[in-house]
Amino acid sequence: MIAAVEARAVSRELPGPVPVTLVRNIDLTVSPGEFVAVTGPSGSGKSSLLYLLGLLDVPTAGTVLIEGRETDTLKPDQLAGLRLARIGFVFQFHFLLPEFTCQANVEIPIRRLGALSDQAARRRAAGLLESLEVSEHGGKYPDQVSGGQRQRVAIARALANDPPLLLADEPTGNLDTRTAHVVFDLFRDLAHSQGRSVVVVTHDTDLASMADRRIHLVDGTIVE
């Protein structure tokens, strides 16, 4: 089976008078339908690893493969294309565009990809909001809904183009414990029932235990 995402000896170093190593020589494979939690202390390189896996950042050594395809030779536009169609991102902050309604926010990646008609895009966005139980808030603006609801809308947006890989960076950092558990349940469901690969960065070991596999990082290196 081809891995949804694979890191081969990936390192990321920030250049400067005193170079800083964010992640060091990481090998990681995430299979389709697998739910992986990345934990570690602050500054251990969790988010850096996630940005590398999500092609937002480029490794200084090693390579990242998306569905078996090496990405180190791809041009920025091609990387953007892969992010658009094959990867969904969820961040600690919802990052919903405040000028657009929740429904319109979910439609943005669909419209950018341009694979669906306007009507089909609206239907798909509405369906995603419904599956995430926020359909009644589709017509509202992000500042008119709660933090948990915003994060669900952000997850719906990440799933808008039906990506096989979902990456989440501290997605529950701004949520209360109950809502955080609901969101993690949702991720587990996305992995197990929809076959998506989900990689979630969290510092919460309790939530991390809900994942199929847990990776612990210290000083940019996987220690367990």
Partner: protein, 416 residues
């Protein structure tokens, strides 16, 4: 059908900064509007003036002058030598064009060219105790009517009356007004050589060019020669061309062939045309300044949007928007401001023109007019639009490029 997502985002950004967007729009609209209004006014005046002088004045005047003093024989022989002539006394030449009739006959052969002889000089008109100094031009009416539009400009009388009435004179409207002279009045004309004639006013003309109407008079060529005491002398040949564009080249050819100074209409009106160049420079500088100010406004708005929307740019990039998609969004914002401002500016410019057209006032400057002379042309609207859209887009380009270069990792790291 939904707008492309980039256009939608650009519009939403502008709508959420309504006040600043409005100020930028007004800047562009004012620039475009005033450009159209002022251009219509200034070009209207300039084109009218040029049309009138082309209409009224000969297209080329051959004068009994030479541009440079004739070279002395020693200068011909020792062209490269260190020749320095001092205390040279030039030969007294009889003024007038030598062989004018032959030159006229030659020019008559040139297709599309009409030529008329003239003798011009000064005259003092005396009427009712008032003296008016004027220019007098002796003309051959048969030829003159083919060269200038003096006949068309006559308010009263006729050109042929110069033949049928002895000692007849035609006056400019301003000359007549200055001395209170009316048609059929008998006036005294005193020439610089002391010839005094009783002359009858057989016509009054109005060219609407103040200088001409206030100082010019016409008599028969023979009568001018009597007044100047210069029998058979012609000191000007006036030419009219079917193709006005040929004025310059033909004048050059005539001067080369006959040696006499030949001035095309552009040279005759060089002073005024020079003022027009300065006027246009001032106009374009002013409108340019307005547009530059509005560009700063647009730059400011787009820069602020880029700054405020840094997080959105980060998430858009993480979603798969390419740098050029991001750049397009912000350039589009400048373009939208430029285009919308242009449309508003068109309306403003059109209103300005129509407003100016409705004002009635008697003006007397270079030319006489009962109101603003306006030149309406789509060209001004197109130039205004191109200037506005290009400058607005350029103003947006710099912040747009900065936005496209933002690193999404830096943004999402800093945004938590």
């Amino acid at each position: 059908m939904a707008l492309p997502i980039g256009v939608d985002i650009a519009i939403q950004h502008l709508l959420h900064r309504r006040r600043q967007t409005l100020v930028s729009l007004l800047g562009v609209a004012l620039g475009v509007g005033f450009f159209i209004g002022i251009s219509a006014m200034m070009q209207g005046f300039q084109r009218d003036f040029i049309a009138r002088i082309i209409d009224v004045q000969p297209h080329i005047i051959v004068k009994d002058e030479v541009r440079t003093a004739p070279r002395q024989p020693v200068e011909w022989i020792y062209g490269d030598g260190a020749v320095d002539l001092r205390g040279l006394k030039p030969r007294e030449e009889v003024r007038g064009i030598r062989g004018a009739r032959n030159i006229m006959a030659t020019l008559d052969e040139v297709p599309g060219v009409q030529v008329a002889p003239a003798l011009s000089g000064n005259l003092l008109l005396r009427f009712g105790g008032r003296d008016v100094s004027v220019n007098v031009t002796g003309i051959d009416p048969v030829r003159e009517r083919k060269v200038t539009h003096i006949e068309k400009d006559l308010l009263s009388g006729s050109l042929d009356a110069l033949y049928t009435t002895s000692n007849a004179i035609i006056l400019g409207e301003g000359v007549a007004a200055k001395a209170g002279i009316r048609k059929d009045d008998l006036i005294s004309a005193v020439s610089p050589v002391g010839v005094v004639l009783k002359m009858k006013v057989v016509g009054i003309f109005r060219s609407n060019i103040t200088l001409i109407d206030n100082f010019d008079t016409y008599v028969l060529l023979k009568k001018a020669q009597v007044l100047q005491n210069r029998a058979n002398v012609i000191n000007r040949l006036n030419l009219r061309l079917d193709d006005i564009e040929q004025s310059g080249p033909l004048a050059e050819r005539i001067e080369r062939q006959f040696g006499y100074r030949s001035e095309p209409w552009q040279e005759q009106s060089r002073n005024v045309l020079g003022i027009f160049v300065i006027q246009n420079g001032i106009m374009y500088s002013t409108v340019g300044a307005i547009l530059i100010v509005s560009c700063f406004g647009i730059y400011n708005v787009i820069s602020t949007v880029v700054f405020e929307k840094t997080r959105d740019i980060g998430i858009l990039k993480s979603m798969g928007f390419r740098p050029r998609d991001i750049r397009r969004i912000f350039v589009l914002e400048g373009l939208i401001v430029g285009l919308t401002g242009t449309v508003l500016g068109w309306l403003l410019g059109w209103s300005l023109i129509e407003g100016l057209a409705s004002i009635h006032l008697n003006m007397e400057g270079f030319i006489k007019s009962q109101g603003f002379i306006l030149y309406r042309t789509p060209r001004h609207y197109i130039i205004g639009a191109v200037m506005a859209v290009v400058s607005a887009t350029l103003a947006a380009w710099v912040p747009a490029r900065r936005a496209s270069r933002l690193n999404p990792v830096d943004i999402v790291r800093g945004a938590g």
